[in-house]
């Protein structure tokens, strides 16, 4: 029951990504290309998603707990540091080069297109590399301290 609900939630997400155009790098990149082949559609994706989530979350958070878990697990950190800003800046550079973001690419795997698999493989490699570099940095920091 729990896994079926999660599958269906993923299906709603994947359908939304497909219908919205977020799975299409040409459309995503055109949103950012105001000086060229501009397509403002993505502002409507963001608007639709944000309004729905903003209202929906407020209704959900009236409950003491989620339906199938003991408690809500939401990020609580309020620290704005170099890692957050630097990481986000780097993320945008990659998004601008490839045209896929993780949320757009995961559902797009379902189209079976090799380009999506190529991006997803590189994405995974980047995530593993990030963790590796971070553990090296942490070790160097401990050694220096």
């Amino acid at each position: 029951m729990r896994l079926l609900s999660l599958y269906l939630i993923g299906l709603v997400f994947g359908t939304g990504i497909s219908v919205s155009g977020m799975a299409n790098p040409a459309k995503v990149l055109n949103f950012f290309d105001i000086a060229g082949t501009w397509d403002p559609s993505l502002i409507f994706v963001m608007g639709g998603a944000l309004i729905t989530t903003f209202i929906g979350y407020r209704l959900v958070f009236r409950r003491p707990a989620p339906l199938m878990e003991a408690k809500f697990v939401v990020p609580t950190s309020r620290v704005i540091d170099g890692k957050l800003v630097g990481g986000s800046a780097v993320f945008g550079i990659g998004w601008g080069i490839a045209g896929f973001c993780p949320g757009g690419a995961l559902p797009a795997l379902g189209t079976g297109r090799w380009e999506v698999f190529a991006f997803a493989a590189a994405l995974l490699a980047g995530m593993v590399l990030a963790r590796f570099l971070q553990s090296i940095a942490a070790r160097a920091f401990r050694a220096a301290a």
Binding site: G92, G96, P107, G126, V128
Partner: protein, 144 residues
Amino acid sequence: MIETAFTPWASLAGGALIGLAAVLLMLVAGRVMGATGIVAGLIRPVSSGDFVWRAALLLGMVSGPLAVAVVSGGMPAVQVPVSLPMLGVGGLIVGLGASWGSGCTSGHGVCGMARLSPRSIVATLTFMATTFVTVYLVRHVIGA
């Protein structure tokens, strides 16, 4: 470069579905719908149960285009205007940045912004800005 048609209604409806999924995931599992976080947990799950719920979610996501194909008679458009090296390099950089920045368009841009999280607002403004600059440089300065 490929011209794409302006699709306000489809994009608004798709966006609303993305939001609905985020709300349902919070209601059912109490979790944030962040693609990066979901994948990160799949690479290194904390328990087998943790792995299974993420896998179920991912399987549902991948079924999205197929559901659209069944209803509309065609797969959603995936037009890739960049070369394979750009997909590879871009993907690697996206993976690094989303890991260090603790999120991406779905986690920060939708879920975090909807919670008015200061971290997510800063993250979203930052990556939107660097994406704009990158696309400008790639298309109009380098001319790739």
